[in-house]
């Protein structure tokens, strides 16, 4: 079968940050130098660059390779043409995110930072509006009665509605990713046992980001640790605000060593420290991964940082007995956190929390399926 080429694909990649694709002469140095391209049969970044150069959109959308790269930047450093393969891999992740997303919002946000900011502002104003019109009585005596101002059962309901909404979008997008990469038909030909057996791979990579530790020499050793800290921080917050909100949002002030406060402080620090460090690194262009920053990268980090910062401020204001301050910052906190989650998780950078482990899972499924078909139909497999 011959492949029709999309002439505009490499121009389109410019919007996603792949600006140097045209410089590549396909020598393959990037693939040779990449410590991750060795296993999983990957031949990235060269293969991905070639797909973009020639406009083979179908194969690019099908590819899992972009998710297998953790951006150490060795390829860019060794590229004889300064074609910046690492950033092309980053751009292709953004492109794939926009391709998985059926609403078209991801594409819109990546192409226009203004639209992304506008969406965040709109959702933020909506949250603010809810509190302006529907908040409970503002008790100004001590102790601070946050649960009177924002009753936990209503907040919890809101949390679940939000979580349900963004999960719906994220999961349907992830389903499209599976459909794309397993070629639709192939998907149903694979035994359910194979799908089941590969599940540990998903959680392994989701919680450890093990692959990123194999990254090349230019990556700082602390990066993986910072990233892991960040993951533990937001997973903690996820548990605290979705499942344990009734225990977490209390008016009673526990002693400092109480797990409620300790866990909260830990989660806050686990969010603030890495996001702050990453922001500084992006600003100063310290690590190769932070040499090139698109608007979407800045928005994600700034929003996450502000969410954590306002969260700890709510806690401090409440514990120290500033009722009005507590209520106002609480509204600001949610007006930042909610739009960040709604926009970033299904439609932008944060979606990689699902796509990366899912990609590893799918690679493992494909490998197992290929091994089975090689056993049952050796002729078909070699032909």
């Amino acid at each position: 079968m011959t492949t029709q080429l999309h002439k505009t694909l490499h121009e389109e990649m410019h919007f996603f940050g792949g600006k140097d694709v045209d410089l590549c002469m396909n020598c393959g140095t990037c693939t040779v130098i990449c410590p991750l391209a060795r296993d999983e049969g990957g031949t990235f970044p060269r293969r991905i660059i070639r797909l973009i150069q020639t406009g083979q959109k179908r194969l690019l959308v099908k590819s899992l390779d972009p998710w297998l790269c953790y951006y150490c930047g060795d390829c860019s450093e060794n590229c004889p043409r300064q074609a910046n393969p690492a950033e092309t891999m980053m751009a292709s992740r953004r492109y794939l995110t926009s391709q998985y997303d059926w609403t078209g919002l991801a594409r819109l946000f990546y192409k226009s930072a203004l639209m992304e900011i506008l969406a965040i502002v709109l959702v933020g104003l909506f949250v603010t509006g809810l509190f302006v019109w529907f908040h409970g009585p503002m008790v100004l005596t001590l102790p601070v009665q946050l649960n009177t101002f924002a009753p936990v059962k209503w907040v919890e309901l809101g949390d679940w509605i939000m979580a349900g909404t963004l999960s719906f979008f994220l999961l349907t997008n992830a389903a499209r990713m599976v459909w794309n990469t397993l070629d639709g038909k192939q998907m149903f030909g694979i035994s359910p046992l194979i799908y089941f057996k590969a599940v540990p791979v998903f959680f392994d990579h989701m919680f450890t980001q093990r692959r990123s530790r194999q990254c090349g020499s230019t990556r700082s050793r602390s990066f993986w640790l910072k990233h892991l800290l960040l993951v533990s921080g937001y997973l903690s917050m996820l548990v605290l605000v979705l499942i344990l909100l009734r225990w977490f949002q209390t008016d009673r002030i526990y002693p400092i060593y109480n797990p409620q406060r300790l866990w909260g402080y830990y989660a806050t620090l686990a969010l603030l420290y890495p996001t702050g460090a990453f922001l500084i690194s992006r600003w100063r262009r310290k690590e190769p991964i932070h040499f090139f920053s698109e608007a979407s990268d800045w928005i994600f980090l700034v929003m996450l940082f502000l969410t954590a910062l306002t969260g700890i401020m709510v806690s401090l204001a409440r514990v120290n007995g500033f009722p009005m301050t507590t209520y106002v910052i609480y509204v600001i906190h949610l007006s930042i956190a909610v739009p960040m989650l709604v926009v970033e998780v299904p439609f932008s950078k944060w979606s990689h929390l699902l796509y990366r482990p899912l990609a590893m899972y799918l690679v493992s499924v494909k490998k197992a399926a290929a091994a089975v078909s090689l056993k049952t139909q050796p002729e078909a497999a070699t032909a």
């Binding site: 492949t3 045209d22 002469m25 293969r47 020639t54 406009g55 083979q56």
Partner: protein, 618 residues
């Protein structure tokens, strides 16, 4: 025992010195050189036989020169390496000793002795002795010879007024040598008149022509004949008689002029490969053009327009296909009319293609430009920059394998705005995936072919290579000379070259031609045929057999008061091949230095019963 016949020298016994070289062990590790010397001393005529570690070294050569004086030697044999290496060295040594340099023989006991028979030392030793005996035998019949000296006419002819011919003419005239520059068209500059800007400097081609024209115009020693052709040539190096026809006069009549020339430079150039009708849809689809046609159409685009328009169609995408008519593969590509395919790389097309792709992209930024290559051979200084720039400009590269020629098929063409051509090929930058490109225009980066100069080839007996280009004697050591003495090559008459290389070659040819004019006479090798007027019966067999026009002819001469027809050799044209010697019924022709009596003596030497040899071979 055959005794070696030395009747010709019975008035005086020859005194021959034999020098056997160890070649630092290359010979002496196998051949018993001391025994060879011992036996050589017993060969009649030999008075000295010595062994030396390196005969070619200064002490080795001095031994020979001094022995000639001290021992009153009159002939010398050196048994050493191949004569290609050191025959001239030892001739020099003999000459310094006071002898005629042609009273010297070389016996190759290394390549034909120790190296060929390294597992048979006794056999190699015996063979070495025989080769020395043959050389001694031949030498007894050698006579002093002198180089042939012929008058040298201080004037050069340059055929072809392209950039190469212009450069040769300008260089020669600059050194004070009169030059006749003959160009068949009405204009100097050749192919450069067709091009726009030329790599690697992007200089306008016309500028190069103008600069050389100014040099030619300024020098009164240059005579330019436009619309003229060389129609006949006779003679030899130093004095060629050249007939030139043209120009077409106002009366419509051609004039014929004859002139005497000392040296000739061939600068007739190349012709671009013209694809067969239908090859990549050439001539079948208006969107398929060759590189010269593309350069022409780019030149013809009106300035200020944002779109490339060709034959009324807006061109939105263009693909360049490399190696059209170059690097062809036997069994894959269709041979030309002469049954040959062009297996060679045309060298200029890669950089030209990249240069033109960039030019197209810069001129028409919205144009989609594709490049289909086997390899990118941007080998020269500054050429690789074009490759980098083409990538930056957004040219998309594909790589096909030479034995999988891209297929070009017409699109249905129902809507005029749609691309007219499908190019289907396997791309090996993309793991061999079969791809289809849809484009409005396909530019065939055609290679270079040898120019159509059959008349000149016949006239000069030019050596034509397998690739149809004129072939030099040695690509490295004698790059602008050919086997025809006095005729030199400049530029693409010899093979594909870019403009820089062409001008280098032209400069080299001009220097070679200049060197020929350093002396008033031309000195040639004395190994030419000579007629013995006492024996020649005038059969004419030699003239019939001779392949070199004018080398031998029948002339009327007076013998004992009677007019007879006899053969006469023109030493300037004779190459010493010996064909005439073989057919002469009366053995009246001999090659100087290789006469029949010398061959007889060599055979006698090889077959003589030498006790040492008998012992070794029994």
């Amino acid at each position: 025992m055959n005794t070696i016949n030395n009747s010709q020298h019975d008035h005086q016994e020859p005194r021959i010195g034999v020098y056997i070289c160890r070649c630092g062990g290359n010979i002496s590790d196998v051949v018993d050189v001391e025994r060879v010397a011992e036996v050589s001393r017993h060969i009649p005529g030999v008075v000295v036989a010595k062994v030396h570690t390196f005969c070619c070294s200064d002490p080795g050569q001095n031994t020979i020169s001094q022995d000639i004086q001290a021992e009153k030697l009159d002939r010398v044999v050196v048994a050493s390496c191949s004569p290609f290496l050191h025959e001239l060295t030892f001739r020099g040594a003999v000459q310094r000793g006071g002898l005629n340099p042609y009273l010297y023989e070389h016996a190759n006991i290394r390549e034909q002795g120790s190296w060929a028979h390294k597992h048979d030392p006794a056999g190699a030793t015996a063979k070495s002795i025989r080769m020395i005996a043959a050389a001694v035998g031949k030498l007894q019949y050698s006579t002093p010879l002198d180089q042939i000296r012929l008058p040298n006419h201080r004037k050069a002819l340059v055929i072809g007024g392209g950039i190469a011919g212009m450069k040769v003419a300008a260089d020669l005239a600059g050194r004070g040598i009169p030059v006749l520059l003959v160009e068949s068209s009405g204009r100097l500059g050749g192919r450069l008149n067709q091009w726009n800007r030329v790599f690697p400097t992007d200089t306008p081609a016309g500028q190069l022509v103008t600069k050389l024209l100014a040099q030619l115009d300024a020098n009164p020693l240059v005579e330019i004949l436009l619309n003229c052709k060389v129609t006949a040539v006779t003679g030899f190096v130093g004095s060629f008689q050249v007939t030139i026809e043209g120009p077409l006069g106002p009366s419509g009549a051609m004039t014929t002029t004859q002139t005497t020339i000392g040296a000739i430079v061939m600068a007739t150039g190349f012709k671009p490969y013209v694809p067969d009708d239908g090859e990549f849809l050439y001539k079948k689809d208006p969107g398929v053009v060759t590189m010269p046609e593309f350069i022409d159409l780019m030149r013809g685009q009106p300035t200020g327009t944002g779109e490339l328009v060709y034959k009324g169609r807006t061109i939105r995408s263009v693909a360049f296909l490399h190696c059209v008519g170059s690097r062809q593969i036997d069994g894959v590509h269709t041979p030309r009319a002469d049954g040959k395919i062009n297996t060679y790389c045309s060298r200029v097309c890669c950089t030209t293609t990249l240069q033109q792709a960039i030019a197209a992209k810069e001129r028409f930024p919205s144009l989609q430009v594709y490049d289909l290559h086997q390899d990118i051979r941007t080998y020269g200084r500054g050429h690789e920059d074009y490759y980098v720039r083409a990538g930056k400009a957004g040219v998309v590269f594909f790589r096909y394998h030479g034995d999988e020629i891209p297929r070009v098929t017409p699109a249905d063409g129902k809507r005029p705005a749609e691309p007219s051509l499908h190019i289907t090929f396997k791309d090996y930058l993309t793991w061999g995936e079969e791809l289809t490109l849809d484009v409005d225009m396909l530019v065939l980066a055609v290679g270079l072919m040898a120019g159509d100069i059959p008349d000149l080839i016949n006239m000069f007996k030019l050596p034509v290579g397998e690739d149809r280009f004129i072939q030099e004697i040695h690509p490295k050591l004698r790059p602008v000379e050919i086997s025809v003495n006095g005729v030199l090559l400049a530029g693409t008459v010899q093979g594909p070259m870019n403009i820089e290389e062409t001008l280098n070659a032209a400069g080299a040819a001009a220097v070679k031609a200049s060197a020929m004019f350093l002396k008033d006479v031309v000195e040639l090798n004395p190994y030419v045929a000579q007629v013995d007027t006492d024996l020649c019966q005038g059969s004419g067999a030699c003239v019939t057999q001779c392949e070199y026009d004018g080398a031998i002819a029948m002339v009327e001469t007076q013998v004992n008061g009677k007019t007879v027809r006899q053969a006469k050799v023109n030493p300037g044209l004779c190459v010493g091949c010996g064909a005439c010697v073989a057919v002469c019924p009366t053995r009246a022709i001999n090659l100087n230095g290789w006469r029949l009596d010398q061959y007889d003596a060599m055979v006698d030497g090889l077959t003589a019963e030498i006790p040492e040899v008998a012992a070794a071979t029994s």
